[in-house]
C-alpha cells in the first residue's frame, strides 16, 4: 500500500525527450492505467518511478518520502517487465522465490516461500511449470511468471508494463479478469501500462493517456470515453477507430459529407471548419429513431466480426465505418440509412489531416470551457 506522487519527471535520450515534465499522483489502492501508443514514453515513466533510469529533472515520492535519489533496491517498488526479464539460469520456481530471498522485502521461511509460490502460480495457471527454465516455457507462460514474480511479494507500488501483451487473445481476456479480481480484493496501488484500450477500460480506476512523453488527459474510463479531450484520445479508444470527418459550420448549421450530414449547430459554436467524431458502434443502420440524425449511404464493404458485422458505408464524398449486429442482414451495395443520437456526435476543432485537435463538445451542446490541449 502506498501513495505515489510524481512531479515534473523528465528523461531525455540524446536529443529525444522520452518523457517531458510528467506530474501525477496515484492514490492508495488505486489502479492507475497509462495508455498510449508505442514510443509514447510509457516504459520510461515506469522505470523512472522504479529508479531504473537517471532522470534529468523531477521527483518521485512514496507515502510522502522523497525517493528521487534512492537506489531501486531500497524503494520497495515491484515491477513486471514487458520483456519478462526472467533470470535465464534459474527455474520458474527460483525466479519466483528471488524477491523473497533478497532480505529487503521481508523475511520468509522456506515453507512460507513455497506456500506463496503455490498460491500465485495457481492463480496464474503456471503451477505445473515450476521446475522448468524460462527457455523451456512459452512466451505466454514466461509473461505470467514475470507477473508472478511481482505479485508474490509485498510492495508499496506495483508497476506492470504490458503484462498481458504476449498472451493470445483468449488467455489475455482471462488474465485480464484475474488481474481485475486481484486488484479488487487486495487494495494494492498499481500503475499499469498498456497500448490496449480495452485493458485500460476494463481495469482502470483512472486512465492517463500518454502521447510524445506528455499526458493528454487523465480521467476515469467513463470521462475518457464520453468526453475525450481531443481527437487523439478519441482515436485511442474504440476499435474500429472513431470516424473523424471534416465539417463546415455556416448559416447556423453543421454540414459534412457533401450534405449527407446536415444538422443545426449548437449554441456557442462559432462558424468555420470543425471535425465531427462518430463512433462506429453508435451508428445504427435501418432503424429510424425520431429525433436522431439520419445519414443516407450505400454499403461498400461488409465484413463479419463474430456476431457483429463491420460496414464501410459510402456517404456523400466520403465513407463511414459502422459496427452493427449481424442479424441486421445488410448486404454489400445495399442503400442504408444510418441514425445516430445528436449528443453522441462529438465536435472537434478543425485542423489539417493527421493533426489532432481539441474537442469542443457534442452536436447537442458545446462545452462551456474548452480546456487547453497541450501540443
Amino acid at each position: 500500500m502506498g501513495t505515489l506522487s510524481v512531479r515534473g519527471i523528465t528523461k531525455k535520450y540524446g536529443s529525444l525527450t522520452a518523457i517531458d515534465h510528467l506530474d501525477f499522483d496515484v492514490h492508495d489502492g488505486e489502479f492507475f492505467v497509462i495508455l498510449g501508443p508505442s514510443g509514447a514514453g510509457k516504459t520510461t515513466t515506469l522505470k523512472s518511478v522504479a529508479g531504473l533510469v537517471d532522470m534529468e529533472e523531477g521527483s518521485v515520492a512514496v507515502n510522502g518520502i522523497d525517493l528521487t535519489m534512492v537506489e531501486p533496491y531500497h524503494r520497495n517498488i515491484a515491477m513486471a517487465f514487458e520483456s519478462y526479464a526472467l533470470y535465464p539460469n534459474k527455474t520458474v520456481r527460483q525466479n519466483l522465490a528471488s524477491p523473497l530471498k533478497s532480505g529487503r522485502t521481508g523475511h520468509y521461511s522456506a515453507d512460507e516461500i513455497e506456500q506463496r509460490i503455490l498460491t500465485v502460480t495457481k492463480t496464474l495457471g503456471i503451477d505445473q511449470l515450476l521446475d522448468r527454465f524460462p527457455r523451456e516455457v512459452s512466451n505466454g507462460q514466461r509473461q505470467r511468471t514475470a507477473l508472478g514474480r511481482v505479485l508474490i511479494r509485498p510492495a508499496d507500488i506495483y508497476l506492470l508494463d504490458e503484462p498481458l501483451s504476449h498472451l493470445d487473445a483468449k488467455l489475455r481476456a482471462t488474465m485480464r479478469a484475474e488481474l481485475k479480481a486481484i486488484a479488487q480484493n487486495s487494495n494494492t496501488t498499481t500503475i499499469y501500462v498498456t497500448h490496449d484500450y480495452q485493458e485500460a477500460l476494463a481495469l482502470a480506476d483512472r486512465i492517463a493517456v500518454l502521447r510524445h512523453g506528455k499526458f493528454v488527459q487523465i480521467g476515469t474510463p467513463v470521462e475518457i470515453w464520453r468526453e475525450p479531450i481531443d481527437s487523439f484520445v478519441a482515436k485511442s479508444l474504440g476499435q474500429p477507430e472513431i470516424n473523424l470527418i471534416d465539417a463546415v459550420v455556416a448559416n447556423g448549421r453543421i454540414t459534412a459529407l457533401a450534405g449527407a450530414i446536415d444538422i443545426p449547430k449548437p449554441d456557442g459554436l462559432s462558424e468555420g471548419k470543425v471535425r465531427l467524431g462518430l463512433r462506429p458502434s453508435e451508428l445504427v443502420p435501418g432503424v429510424q429513431v425520431p429525433g436522431h440524425v439520419q445519414i443516407k449511404g450505400t454499403v461498400r464493404i461488409s465484413e463479419r466480426l463474430g456476431r457483429d458485422i463491420e460496414l464501410e458505408v459510402s456517404v456523400g464524398d466520403g465513407h463511414l465505418i459502422v459496427v452493427t449486429d449481424s442479424s441486421k442482414a445488410v448486404a454489400e451495395r445495399d442503400d442504408v440509412v444510418l441514425s445516430i443520437d445528436v449528443p453522441q456526435i462529438h465536435v472537434f476543432a478543425g485542423g489539417d489531416p493527421g493533426q489532432d485537435t481539441a474537442r469542443l463538445g457534442s452536436a447537442q451542446q458545446i462545452s462551456p470551457v474548452t480546456k487547453e490541449v497541450e501540443q
Binding site: 481476456a173 481485475k180 474510463p221 474504440g238 463479419r304 466480426l305 456476431r307 464501410e312
Partner: protein, 371 residues
C-alpha cells in the same frame, strides 16, 4: 491507397486445387520417421476467390502455402494451378506472387530495385516503367528511393505486397500479411488489401492465425488443426454453423463457453441440463440422456433466468460489457456479453440464458457437432 481508383481490367485469375496433398518432414536418421505436417489435404479454390488458411501455430497452414509457392517439396498428392500440375516446377515457374510474413524485402536494395528485381532477373525490358506504373497506382511513388530499413512496418507491408503483385501473378499467396502491424494499421491495410484483391481479381490465399482477420478478409476460410482442414466455408458458415468443437472454440472472441450437459427430451422440447440450470435447444437429433458438451457464445448469451452463477468480475468496455459468471455446481466460468454500463458487482448472483437455436451441442468424446 484506399481512395485510389483502380481502373485496370481484371487479370486472368486461375483456379487452384490441392488433391490429397501430404507433407512429411523427415527427422530421424536415414530418413526414417518424421512429422506429418499436412495430412491428405483437399482444397478447391475458384478463380478470383480470396481464401484464408486459419489455425494455431504448427497446424500446417504455412507449410501448405509454401508447398503451393514451391518453397517446399510435396511428399505426396498434387497441386494444380489453372489445371496444370506444378509439383515439380520451381517457384519461379508457377506464376505465383508471394508475400512473406517478415516481408523478406531485399535489404541492400531500394524499394524501386526491390520491385524491379523479379522483372530484371527475367530481363524484362520495361521493368522500370512497370515499377513506376504500379507505384503510382499503389500511391507509393514517394518511397521508391528508400531502403527497406528506413520504412515503417506498414510501408514494408505495402512494398512486400507490391513486389508480389508486380508480375501480375494469377495466384497471390500471402503469409500473415497483417502480422507485424498495430491495430490501427491492421484495420487500414486489411481494407486496402481487400479492395486491391477485388480490383485485380487474383486468386488469393492468405495464411493467418488471427480468427478476426480471417473472418473479415475471407470469401471463404479453411480452419486447420493438426495438418487437417477442420472446416472450409464462408465466415458466416464457420461462425454460425461450426463443424466441430475445435472450430467453434478457435473462431470467435471472446471464446465460446463450454459446459458439460445432459440432454433431456420433454415432449416437443429438447432441454439440456447443466449444473446450475437448464437450457432449451433446437437440436432435434439429441437423444434423451445423452452426455454432451454445450457451447454458448458470449455474444449469444444474455442475462435472464436460466443458468445460475456468481459474478466473478464485470468489465465495462464502453462499447459493451463482459460479465464472468462462476456457474454454480461446476468449476466452469462463463462469459456473457452485455450492454455497456450494466450494474453488476463481483459476488452478485445472476443468471444467463440463450435462444434455443444458438445452443451448440458437441460430442464430448471426439468434439463432433450434434445437429
Amino acid at each position: 491507397m484506399s481512395n485510389t481508383v483502380l481502373t485496370e481490367r481484371k487479370e486472368a485469375a486461375l483456379p487452384l486445387s490441392l488433391s490429397k496433398v501430404q507433407k512429411i518432414y523427415r527427422t530421424g536418421p536415414r530418413k526414417k520417421g518424421g512429422v506429418e505436417a499436412v495430412k491428405s489435404m483437399d482444397l478447391d479454390i475458384r478463380p478470383g476467390e480470396l481464401i484464408t488458411l486459419l489455425g494455431p501455430s504448427g497446424c500446417g497452414k504455412t507449410t501448405t502455402l509454401r508447398m503451393i509457392a514451391g518453397l517446399e517439396t510435396i511428399t505426396s498428392g498434387e497441386i494444380l494451378i489453372g489445371g496444370v500440375r506444378v509439383n515439380d516446377l520451381p517457384p519461379a515457374k508457377r506464376n505465383v506472387g508471394v508475400g512473406f510474413e517478415s516481408y523478406a524485402l531485399y535489404p541492400p536494395l531500394s524499394v524501386r530495385e526491390n520491385l524491379a528485381y523479379g522483372l530484371k532477373a527475367r530481363k524484362v525490358n520495361d521493368a522500370m516503367q512497370q515499377v513506376d506504373e504500379l507505384a503510382r497506382r499503389l500511391d507509393m511513388t514517394d518511397m521508391l528511393e528508400e531502403r527497406p530499413a528506413a520504412l515503417s512496418s506498414g510501408q514494408k507491408q505495402r512494398v512486400s505486397l507490391a513486389r508480389a503483385l508486380i508480375r501480375k501473378p494469377p495466384v497471390l499467396l500471402l503469409d500473415e500479411p497483417l502480422g507485424h502491424l498495430d491495430a490501427a494499421q491492421r484495420q487500414r491495410v486489411r481494407r486496402e488489401l481487400k479492395l486491391l484483391q477485388r480490383e485485380f481479381g487474383y486468386t488469393t490465399i492468405v495464411v493467418t492465425h488471427d480468427q478476426s482477420e480471417a473472418m473479415t478478409l475471407s470469401d471463404r476460410m479453411a480452419v486447420m488443426d493438426a495438418g487437417i482442414i477442420q472446416q472450409f466455408g464462408t465466415p458466416d458458415e464457420i461462425f454460425d454453423d461450426p463443424a466441430n468443437l475445435f472450430v467453434a472454440d478457435f473462431v470467435g472472441e471472446p471464446a465460446i463457453n463450454l459446459l458439460d450437459g445432459t440432454v433431456v427430451r420433454d415432449g416437443d422440447k429438447v432441454l439440456v441440463n447443466v449444473a446450475g440450470g437448464v437450457l432449451e435447444t433446437s437440436v432435434i437429433s439429441a437423444k434423451d440422456g445423452q452426455k454432451v458438451t454445450v457451447g454458448v457464445r458470449p455474444q449469444d448469451a444474455f442475462l435472464a433466468p436460466g443458468v445460475k452463477g456468481t459474478v466473478f468480475v464485470y468489465e465495462d468496455l464502453m462499447e459493451y460489457g463482459l460479465v464472468r459468471l462462476d456457474v454454480h455446481g461446476t468449476d466452469k466460468r462463463v462469459v456473457v456479453q452485455t450492454v455497456a454500463g450494466a450494474k453488476l458487482r463481483s459476488g452478485d448472483i445472476s443468471e444467463f440464458n440463450v435462444s434455443s437455436h444458438r445452443v451448440y451441442l458437441f460430442d464430448p468424446e471426439d468434439g463432433a457437432r450434434i445437429r
